[in-house]
Amino acid sequence: MRRIAVTGIGAVAPGEPGRERFWDRMVEGRPATRGVTLFDASQMRSRVAAECDFDPIACGLTPQEVRRNDRFGQFALVASAEALDDAGLGRDDLDGERTGVCLGSAVGATMRLEEEYVAVSDGGRHWEVDGSYAGPFMYPVFVPSSIVSEVAVKFGANGPASLVSTGCTSGIDAVGQGARMIADGEADVVIAGGTESPISPISYACFDAIRATTPANDRPAEASRPFDADRQGFVMGEGCAVLVLEDLDRARARGAHVYCTVAGYASRANAYHMTGLHPDGVELAEAVARAMDEARVDPGDIGYVNAHGSGTVQNDRHETGAYKRALGPAAYDVPVSSIKSMIGHSLGAIGALETAACALAIDRGVLPPTANLTTPDPECDLDYIPGEAREARVGHVLSAGSGFGGFQSAVVLSRT
């Protein structure tokens, strides 16, 4: 049976772009959250964000790539290039027909859709919008799978290609689906990950409307507080992570550096509510259990859990319940942390960023902390690695995610 190796990682995360800047932040436990700068958020209830200090040209894109792609697409191109470079796979090293692309995004080209909307509708004055005011490349923003095409074209990937859009589990689901492409023999290499750039008025207004994002605007660096008693919601984030997934035998044969393997993946639906979560976390626990089964690990084998930990009152409670159910007593022994405390919640991207953090944790022997956890919540009583990263050599890592629409997903990564 084929095993799936992670041989390259690329990231455009809040703060400075690049995998190493991302990992530095994880190790230092340093939040990137700040007041929103990407648009005028003064009318919004939540006015904080985890933003990427991103210059696409400085990151290597051409002016035409920048023009054709909305920000989330630009992230994907940059992170894919870094990941492939990290894996030591140039265009000539790839067998195009055996190379796939599987990227996740929850809200696609929402930024450019909104920008263009303002012009064609004249600030919302007209329902019958005027297309003569639309910029070029509107079709690619209409259907977000365009970014998958861009990555396929840029790197010569002729294998199966897909955009996964399962809300906030898109990133983890894209990695899982990419791994399955290899396991099923449909590809030998998959460029897998998640990308999102939702920091825009419509996204802020919609999460304000359901009070999902935090109004803790006076202390932006401390606004994302997963598992903390004073948490008030998530901080919107943006960014991208791309992992190069590769058949393990082939990776070893070419002497590639292997971060870890993707040993197990499962997804379930809570079929309960589009946004609400039941405190018992039954379906998330089921996804976790099935992922562990596939990875052939027991709860006691898990050395670290990277939580969804969005920082909403309901999620953190739901998730804690799920881990107790799935891991049993081991839930109290295993360190759990949420890196959303540092990089916010980037919707369809975060699952990939979290999986990347897990791969790096295994590879580099450091577990990222949960920042801003200063007042424990009695309902969230696990070891969440408060404040400071922890050195630890772990054999198996679990990452989980939950999303609007009821999606519950889990992935297990293992040291080789």
Partner: protein, 421 residues
């Protein structure tokens, strides 16, 4: 024992009708369901619209305000598919039943309405449901909740290829141990901002005559006509179908997807990766090009894309390329984006079940069809055992699905769906 994927229920919400019976009857009538359409300033004068769809018949009020029309179509088609199949989830493991939909553009009308409220009035006017009504996962989420299906649920975005990829996902999920998948795709792209975006691709037909606006493979084809709606199907593992005494419409034998990696917008002219998707799907089905009895083509309707598809079919079928019947019933409804692959799969399943290939409309064989034998009347070929369904998405997505006749039934098993269409 290998797990097998049987289409046991079909639900259609499309310009051809609501429900599989109405859809198949309209199909056999063989006249276009594309109608004149006022697209405002966008250069389009015809579209395939769903006629007579009363949302309240399918979606409760409370849910209607939370969802876009695209999701109403999916909910309606989903329930129709379940009813058609006779599949009763009661007593079954909810984790064994999944929902997979394709979506290309999400909740266009809902999204435009809310973004207008934001910009015209202010953030406080944005609906509390914007976070769940517009995004691409909305239909899968709502279907999962409505039917309490807790299995691995998915949302595929690959433009026009997505619907076929979703069908492929159902096969994979069943092979991995699932019992049933409610799967398909719908689209509702006929709203103002959505149309502006579609116009950008430069492939919308400007034709005002609904019968001639969308003519794939015609030498003077001048674009496509968009349509709304799609289909959902219940795809069930063979043992489950057998256990209920249901034979089903057809079996999903194989799926494959490739990418041209050629240009961000234009299809690769040689059709090589497109042909390879079909070859791989056939290989995975344990078959070869010589087994293909009919092809449901993508039929883009613009000369470059049509030429590339003809090249792909020539690569795949060789000398048989001019003889294998090519079905283009989509000429009756337009291009449905995420609905297309699903609706074509439904058509192909019905064709296998009835032994009749559906007709295209607007095709003039004397004017030239790029060497392809396009079916223009309902046709019962001598051999109709294996059907190849093809779909492409803008940017180079290629998808192929192989369907076969439903496995031979044991004595007394019912044919097809409950309505015995």
């Amino acid at each position: 024992m290998e797990r097998r994927a049987i289409i046991t229920g079909i639900g259609v919400v499309a310009p051809t009708g609501i429900g599989v019976r109405e859809h198949w009857e309209a199909t056999l009538e063989g006249r276009t369901r594309i109608t004149p359409f006022d697209a405002g300033g966008v250069p389009l004068r015809a579209a395939g619209r769903v006629d007579g769809f009363r949302p309240r018949d399918h979606v409760k009020n409370r849910l209607m305000i939370q969802t876009d029309k695209w999701t109403w179509f999916a909910l309606a088609a989903g329930r129709l598919a379940l009813d058609d199949s006779g599949f009763d989830p009661a007593g079954r493991d909810p984790y064994g039943i999944s929902v997979v939909t394709a979506s290309a553009s999400g909740g266009n009308e809902f999204g435009q309405r809310e973004i207008q409220a934001l910009w015209a009035k202010g953030p406080e006017e944005v609906s509390a449901y914007q976070s769940i009504g517009w995004f691409y996962a909305a239909s899968t989420g709502q279907l999962s909740i409505r039917h309490a299906f807790k299995g691995h649920c998915g949302v595929v975005v690959a433009d026009g290829a997505g619907g076929l990829d979703a069908m492929g996902q159902s096969l994979r999920l069943l092979r991995r141990g699932g019992e049933a998948v409610l799967v398909g795709g719908t689209e509702a792209p006929l709203t103002p901002y959505a149309l502006v975006c579609q116009a950008d691709l430069g492939r919308l037909s400007p034709g005002a005559d609904p019968e001639r606006a969308y003519r794939p493979f015609a030498p003077d084809a001048d674009g496509y006509v968009p349509g709304e709606g799609g289909a959902m199907m219940l795809v069930e593992e063979a043992a489950s179908a057998r256990g209920r005494g249901v034979r089903g419409y057809a079996e999903i034998l194989g799926h494959a997807a490739t990418h041209d990696a050629h240009h961000h917008e234009r299809a690769a002219p040689d059709g090589r990766q497109y042909a390879r998707a079909a070859e791989l799907a056939l290989e995975r089905a344990g078959l070869g090009p010589e087994d293909v009895d009919a092809v449901f083509a993508d039929g883009a309707g613009d000369p470059d894309s049509d030429r590339a598809e003809a090249a792909a079919l020539a690569r795949l079928l060789g000398e048989r390329a001019s003889a294998v019947p090519v079905a283009l019933p989509k000429t009756m409804v337009g291009r449905l984006y995420s609905g297309a692959g699903a609706l074509d799969t439904a058509w192909a399943a019905l064709a296998l079940h009835h032994g009749v290939l559906p007709p295209a409309v607007g095709t003039d064989p004397d004017a030239g069809t790029r060497g392809l034998r396009i079916v223009t009347e309902p046709t019962a070929p001598e051999r109709l055992r294996t059907v190849l369904v093809l779909a492409r998405g803008a940017g180079g997505f290629n998808s192929a699905l192989v369907l076969g006749r439903a496995p031979a039934d044991e004595e007394g098993a019912e044919e097809g769906g409950r309505f015995n269409v």
